[in-house]
């Protein structure tokens, strides 16, 4: 799915500076792109714009030729998009395996609903859930309530939830935050393995950014770098002057 932003700006009423400032960017079908930048640079806002969770103040944005500002088109975009967000956004009170299949709900039939409401995985997803869970090392915890999982385990369940519906677009906002280096690498590997899928991830981790063929760096809501390889000097420029603790 192609993503096209033309002169997109986002201004929040309670903030003096725009979160995104005249951003023009095209991500081609099946391209893997990493958004790099310090906290508050606009990475999350850009991803939320693509998902229609934030409306641009000005500019145009299309995802797969569809406009997220229109309700019907937004639903179509979301149904072929997998999302991994930073922090804990699994549903408490449900098992890990139920959370893992929540991304597939738009295509459920009555039998699938009945299985999920009984805390089971619908038969048609069982095999794939098992395979993905094994890849992510969460197979032993699938039947556990999410409250009993560690932060890293929850993040991996969220990753399975995003990948399971076989989306055409994968958006991941800081997917490795809170993960140990080995688990973080497994998460990145899962995202990079999604061939034929457009992948956009945001991170402030340079080592992760360098594993992607295209790096788009943001600073103060503007694109300050867009290229295949990030040199030490480029990286310094992106983070230079950023106050520690902000």
């Amino acid at each position: 799915m192609e993503i096209r932003l033309t002169g997109v700006s986002v201004t929040f009423p309670d903030r003096e500076h725009p979160a995104l400032d005249d951003v023009s960017l095209t991500v081609e079908e099946a391209e893997h792109v990493v958004l790099l930048g310090p906290s508050g640079s606009g990475k999350t806002t850009l991803l939320r714009c693509v998902l229609g969770a934030v409306k641009p103040t000005s500019g145009t944005l299309t995802v797969g030729g569809k406009n997220p500002a229109k309700a019907a088109e937004l639903r179509a975009i979301r149904r072929c998009t997998g999302v991994v967000r930073q922090g804990n956004d699994l549903v408490h009170g449900l098992r890990a395996q139920t959370n893992a299949v929540l991304g597939t709900s738009p295509s459920w039939g009555l039998r699938d609903w009945a299985a999920v409401l009984r805390g089971r995985v619908p038969a048609r997803y069982a095999e794939r859930v098992r395979t993905l869970a094994e890849t992510q090392g969460i197979q032993p915890f699938l039947k556990s309530q999410v409250e009993s999982l560690s932060g890293g385990q929850r993040q991996r369940v969220a990753l399975v939830r995003a990948v399971l519906p076989e989306p055409r677009l994968l958006l991941a906002d800081e997917p490795t935050s809170g993960l140990d280096p080995v688990t973080a690498q497994a998460a990145v590997h899962t995202l990079r393995e999604a061939s034929g899928v457009t992948v956009v991830i945001s991170t402030h981790d340079l080592s992760i950014a360098r594993q992607f063929p295209r790096v788009v760096a943001l600073r103060d809501g503007r694109v300050c770098f867009d290229g295949p390889e990030l040199s030490e000097r480029d990286a310094r420029d992106i983070y230079e002057g950023v106050e520690v603790g902000t």
């Binding site: 998902l51 999302v83 922090g87 956004d89 549903v91 408490h92 709900s105 519906p165």
Partner: protein, 302 residues
């Protein structure tokens, strides 16, 4: 203490005001220093004056209420003989087989009223709550009337609902079930909708971003998070239904309350004592069952 000289000021209040000579009075940076505008004694005086004022207003309110309601120790002492007559009449509670059988029947009827009313009240209450909760996203033309209906249901006392239904369907437990159901539905609708609105928003947004419908988001992300608290509220409502059924029985809406009303009107105090003990036991048993179930669900009960 002066950090430069290492000495204490002769007058502690000197240190209280900022040294910058711009004519503006500043709050002290040291919490032990006296505040400007009269020092610590003045602040203490002002606080103590406010406390006294609050105390005087509180006492005046209590006296006004006691006077308005005619509550006094004198009236209690004067009426003690009548109360003693009733209390003495309660002992010993009547235990003949015929009465115990009819009390047993009334207890069973009360239990049936409470469970039937809980069923209808919960079904209606949960439906209204789902329509009312802001994060479920029902259209305003549905959520607003749902809110009004719930408000009417819980604002009208059960006793009044019971009078309406006794007039409509006649004396007996059915009237009690209808009356308690409506009140329980109104209460549960409000409490459950608040529980639904209080769930963590991040998982709700995560499910919504997958393209899930509003209904699917409610079923998959909102209700599971509030499920235990909702179940706890429903069980508590069951306890309330038992107590309510005893009260509305006085107007002929069946159950142990109706038997209590008849015994009181006929001055059969030994019978009244037996019925009160039966009601107490019923409330205790239901309370224990409810506590047990709530504890199983992880609610903080002791």
């Amino acid at each position: 203490m002066n950090p430069r000289t290492g000495s204490f000021p002769a007058n502690p209040s000197q240190d209280a005001v900022d040294e910058r000579d711009d004519g503006k009075e500043r709050l002290p940076t040291d919490l032990n220093q006296e505040p400007p505008g009269g020092g610590r004694a003045a602040v203490r005086y002002r606080r103590s004056k406010t406390r006294w004022l609050v105390l005087v207003i509180a006492i005046a309110a209590v006296v006004w209420s006691l006077d308005g309601t005619g509550v006094s120790f004198a009236s209690l002492i004067e009426g003690w003989d009548n109360a003693r007559e009733i209390l003495a009449g309660l002992f010993p509670p009547q235990t003949d087989e015929e009465l115990l059988r009819s009390v047993g029947k009334a207890v069973v009827e009360t239990l049936q009223i409470s469970i039937a009313a809980l069923f209808f009240g919960t079904v209606m209450g949960l439906l209204l709550a789902l329509l009312m909760a802001g994060n479920i996203g029902a259209p305003k033309w549905i959520s607003l009337p749902a809110r009004w209906v719930a408000t009417v249901f819980r604002s009208v006392p059960e006793l009044l609902w019971a009078l309406v239904f006794v007039a409509a369907v006649g004396l007996g437990p059915a009237a009690g079930v209808y009356a308690i159901s409506l009140h329980a539905a109104g209460l549960l609708a409000k409490l459950v909708s608040e529980q639904l609105e209080a769930v963590d928003v991040a998982p709700v947004e995560a499910v919504r971003l997958t393209g899930a419908t509003r209904l699917a988001t409610a079923v998959l992300a909102i209700v599971p998070q509030a499920r235990n608290n909702i179940a706890s509220l429903v069980l508590y409502q069951w306890e309330c239904n038992i107590r309510s059924s005893a009260i509305i029985g006085f107007v002929g809406a069946g159950g142990i309350g109706q038997a209590l009303g008849i015994s009181m009107r006929l001055f059969r105090y030994e019978e009244l004592a037996t019925l009160m003990i039966a009601l107490l036991l019923l409330v205790l048993v239901v309370d224990q069952i409810s506590r047990f179930l709530r504890r199983r669900m992880g609610a903080a009960t002791r």
